[in-house]
Symmetry: C2
């Protein structure tokens, strides 16, 4: 295992410490329990947005704290759900009196712990609504998951619900927007290499030198099947077709196309995937109205990528274009 | 070799094609010869900024085209200098009548080809000034280099000179600012793993499983020495001390700290490096006034990072804070 780390047990705390120092104009942290939130505290009268989950998927979630997106994020240990006693104070910290929306990726531990955290926060007078992101079409159930997994589509939920909260929508409306995004977003990914959790010290799974895993999860959970390494255009077609078919995408629809890197894949390769995914969408008669390409929901140093398609409508497009000022997404 | 590519010979053209499609609001491309430039063409009356070099270092350089930074970029083949007949029309495309500054990383091929390209553009009536970036303190001469190599500090030269051009400075002033940045910026990097050039098909160098290369170049050129894998804080101290000593950094000075990922290293590790580099700068009495952490000057999928320190003054800080709107840097 070759990593730029010190004690494997300290990777999350040291990384969050560096992150907060580098972006002190945007974020601050609470140490015990650990969570990250907007500098200056909750915005009075605005619906708060909180997400969280196991670490190792950076910039998800703390990288998306800031104006137009999240108010707080709760980093668990590496690939491990945060605890309810971390989640509850983060929900409280994000509450500006208009309630808080928790955006939770569909993993059993995350769902349970956010549920308990929300109950604890509720007991302190915080109104909490929750949405569960489950955009991964690869498998129906999986390691740590009942139902579909939540993956890169989470970034789009956070951006669009965040913009709704920022313009002053109430909790029910922000929640409905988040759910509309979830209902209209689908993702599938591929791994070329495995990743190594620091305290485990060895790769999460074995992938032969001449094979790739189609439908990989963001923790290296098994996908649909392994195939021999193939040209990028073929791999992309497999991912895009699964996503677009599941979305029942019709000709004439407008979409947002996100090509997400898993952490270890160069930008040049992501743009090759983007090129083909876009061509295939256009061949279906869809219009790629908005795009995002980069490392947004990663799996440590895993090489691979995922393709996400979100069906847009005029309101969602407007929310996408609204200003955002976070460490990892800014316009 | 496991990569998300099609024919290795087409990596650059397909990647640039995807890049331009994804960022069509910012950039456009010329196909033959290949270069990328601002959509809408040169800004009349503004000094144009052009950079370029071998591909494989993305987002450098095309990712930095846009308001507040470059006007055009010339991507060579993978790790190979662009040709004069690519460079000359890019210089012409960037000329809004106030001349063009070429920002060239110090590699023999880049320097020669930009020199010839500038002569060709000059014959077409374009006034061209050139600066050579040589921020890498690791080695004095190297593969492909007489003198020090140009590495991640290039991004800071492009941002600060770009801001000067945007506010209306003339060619001599923009050139002087770029040179002031070059005079005050230093970098050193480390590789944990090698990278593989697609058409070569095998790693550029061999690095044993228990060793790392201190002072690596961005093409995998040899650095200062190989050492056994060490904790991140120790590695960071080696890099930061070399950089700060070479810069003759004094207590009380303000600096910009850039921790740059080589392409295959997760964000969490870059922030661990940032945390320690910042602590060491503060221990020297320097103040880290501005920061940048991420993959900005990469070496394909190489795992590793570099530490860059720029000595700031009030004018440079103001130019750093000026708005920028590119694919890879935006505020």
């Amino acid at each position: 295992m070759k990593k730029l780390i010190n004690d494997p047990q300290n990777v999350v705390t040291e990384s969050v410490e560096g992150f907060v120092l580098a972006h002190a104009d945007i974020v601050t942290k609470n140490d015990d329990p650990l969570f990250v939130s907007r500098v200056g505290g909750a915005v009075q009268g605005k619906v708060g947005l909180v997400s969280g989950g196991g670490s190792g998927h950076e910039p998800l979630h703390a990288g998306f704290i800031g104006v137009g997106m999240l108010d707080a994020a709760v980093p668990g240990a590496m690939f491990t759900s945060p605890t309810p006693d971390q989640i509850a104070p983060a929900l409280q910290a994000a509450d500006g009196g208009a309630g808080v929306l928790a955006i939770v990726k569909n993993y059993t531990g995350d769902v349970l712990n956010f549920e308990t955290g929300a109950e604890l926060a509720d007991a302190e007078g915080v109104e909490v609504a929750t949405v569960i992101v489950n955009d991964d079409v690869a498998v129906e159930n999986s390691t740590w998951t009942a139902g579909r997994r939540g993956v890169a589509g989470t970034v789009l939920v956070e951006k669009l619900a965040g913009a709704a909260a920022e313009r002053g929508d109430d909790l029910a409306t922000v929640t409905a927007i988040a759910q509309r995004v979830i209902d209209n977003v689908r993702t599938m990914g591929v791994a070329l290499t495995a990743c190594t959790v620091p305290h485990a010290g060895k790769p999460s799974f074995d992938l032969p030198e001449d094979e790739i895993e189609i439908g990989i999860g963001i923790h290296g959970e098994p996908g649909r099947h392994r195939i021999p390494l193939a040209p990028a255009d073929e791999i992309t077609a497999t991912l895009l077709d699964a996503v677009a078919d599941d979305l029942a995408l019709a000709a004439g629809e407008q979409v947002l196309l996100l090509v997400n890197g898993m952490g270890g894949t160069p930008a040049s390769e992501l743009y090759i995937v983007y090129r083909q995914a876009r061509a295939l969408l256009e061949a279906r008669g869809a219009q790629v109205a908005r795009s995002l390409v980069g490392n947004y929901t990663t799996s440590l140093e895993m090489q691979g990528a995922s393709v996400t398609v979100l069906r847009l409508d005029d309101e969602l497009t407007g929310l996408w274009d609204a200003p955002v000022h976070t460490a990892a997404l800014r316009w």
